[in-house]
Amino acid sequence: MFSMDLLLGAVVLGVLLGCFYAAVSVGLSVSFGLLDVPHVAHPAFLVVASYGVFFLNDRYDIDPLLAGLMITPLFFLVGLVAYRIYYETFERRGSDAAVRGIAFFFGVAFIIEVLIILQFGVDQRSVTASYIGKAWQFGEMRIPIRQLVAFAVALGLTILLAVYLSRTFTGRAIRAVAQDEEALRLMGANPVRIKQFAFGIATAVLGIAGALLIVVAPVEPTLDRAYIGRTFCVVVMAGLGSITGTLAAAIILGVAETVVLTVFGASWAPAVSFAMLLGVLAVRPQGLFGR
């Protein structure tokens, strides 16, 4: 039993949820989509960012989004270092890299999980802010403000990244490296440095995404496992290399989940989203918007 009203509401909430998914996936869209790094530890870094935001919010009462911005430079540096390590160990050494790269990042993700537990304990944490817990009345509907915040941030991030990659010099260099590394090298630019920079940006984005994560729902140390599937699903469905595609794919996913939930029941929602992914991959392996 459902009405048009409910359905419409589901679509709206789905778009907002999708934007949240996009925000947490867009970093992966750069690191995996453009740089081909099988960054399974992306959600683990995301959770670390959330805990960083929690720490600043809990100890110093800093607004979570602001805290997210504050840790962004730190994460940028972490990204630079991480890519260097990855490059020296894997990309240099050759063909077997994919499987071993995945295993490497899994190992890193586990180590991160344990370190978080040792520092913060296993209980879940969340933040407080003025916009958490309130809703905005929009006609018949009440929309949680934190969802709107997620929507705004995700939109902002995506647009910012997309513009950066297509309009600025370094941005286009990153694009170029993804397309044809040899050619770039022949033109005198250093592809490794560019990739390193890109990975730094992808990790920096996680700072803000982590803030979003803990604004939307409480976090706990093993939360990264739940997001591995989701983030890769979004990025792969979008098609590698497309930032705006990530936003679109994430919204499609979010809407599919909420509509299925409203019409058929919540327990089938994840099955549907992943079935969609399988469908897209089987029919169009390069993703919806891929190159």
């Binding site: 994919a98 071993r100 899994f106 999980e113 344990v114 089938w268 099955a271 992943f274 392996p285």
Partner: protein, 321 residues
């Protein structure tokens, strides 16, 4: 081409192994070694089975937990509906695993590398969700089962399960060894090294890939089926635990994927470590150790343990058994 002598040595080893396990079940009074032994043997079987697709063909299956869970729940369903005996449960689980492997292979025909892996994650979630909604086997609430009486010559059900799992290990290893030394193995290796080149030289890559999916899937599900009777309890979060996917991947990589002995070694090393760590007081240490071992091996010993032990070992047609 394996020599006759190599084959004889192998099968002799198998007979000795099975005889030893059987003897233990008659001699050792204490039940604990069989509980722990079951878990380690189970992981050996899983790692070897996984390696057929992941090691030989290079297609990394993240959905091991789905095949495992499907094996468990096939056993549960048959047991609950017909009181089916263990052998039937395992056989049926193998069939279902085969079908699932076939479905996976067909679905991912055109996918390569990490796309395949992501597809396996997707498949795993779909299957877990479906089983969670299946009221007959208890759904998310879980189901408790009552074991039937144990048959002689075993005096305890766990001892029998341990022996059964030893048999499954032998089947898995035998299959892996056969594949490794046959044309199938060489084809898979060609596929793994460069799929495009292999296709160009006439290797039937799609068919080989399907074959690997089917065999790997059947073996994983078969190894999962006895778990229903081992625990006498099943619930989706336990049966489809991500830990199975990650541990098996780790075991194969740590052991080395070039030869069937790699996953065996990796499973023994990691399995024993995990059992030992489970019985010491430190808790998070287990996960930390797994993470560190993964990172160390992948960075420092890319060919795994077998790479360390035999530095000049290469997988070739006619390699050792």
């Amino acid at each position: 081409m394996t020599t006759r002598r190599d084959s004889m040595v192998f099968w002799l080893g198998v007979i000795v192994f099975l005889a030893a396990v059987a003897a233990m079940t008659q001699i050792v009074r204490n039940e604990y070694p069989f509980f722990a032994g079951y878990v380690i043997l189970q992981f050996i079987a899983l790692a070897v089975a996984w390696s057929i697709l992941g090691g030989y063909a290079g297609y990394v299956n993240f959905g091991t937990n789905a095949f495992f869970g499907v094996g468990v729940y096939t056993a549960v369903a048959l047991f609950k509906a017909f009181g089916a005996p263990l052998a039937v449960q395992i056989a049926a689980a193998a069939v279902v695993g085969m079908l699932l492997g076939l479905a996976l292979g067909l679905l991912t025909l055109r996918m390569r590398g990490i796309f395949f892996s992501i597809a396996t994650i997707a498949l795993a979630i779909i299957i877990e969700t479906s089983v969670m909604n299946w009221r007959f086997v208890g759904g998310a609430a879980g189901i408790q089962l009552q074991r039937p009486a144990v048959m002689p010559p075993f005096d305890s059900y766990v001892k029998m399960l341990c022996f059964v799992q030893a048999l499954l290990v032998v089947i898995a290893v035998g299959t892996a060894r056969y594949i490794q030394n046959s044309r199938i193995g060489r084809g898979l290796q060609a596929l793994r090294d460069d799929e495009l080149a292999a296709e160009c030289t006439g290797v039937p890559t799609l068919r080989l890939k399907l074959l690997a999916c089917v065999i790997s899937g059947a073996l994983i599900s078969a190894a999962g089926a006895p778990a229903a009777m081992y625990l006498q309890y099943a619930d989706p979060s336990s049966a489809f635990n991500l830990n199975y996917s990650v541990s098996v991947l780790a075991m194969s990589l740590i052991g080395g994927t070039a030869h069937w002995i790699g996953p065996v070694l990796g499973a023994i090393v990691l399995g024993v470590t995990q059992q030992l760590l489970a019985v010491t007081i430190s808790s998070e240490v287990n996960v930390l150790v797994l993470g560190i071992m993964l990172v160390l091996f992948v960075v420092g010993a890319p060919k795994g343990i077998i790479g360390l032990l035999l530095p000049r070992y290469r997988l070739r047609a006619g390699g050792k058994p």
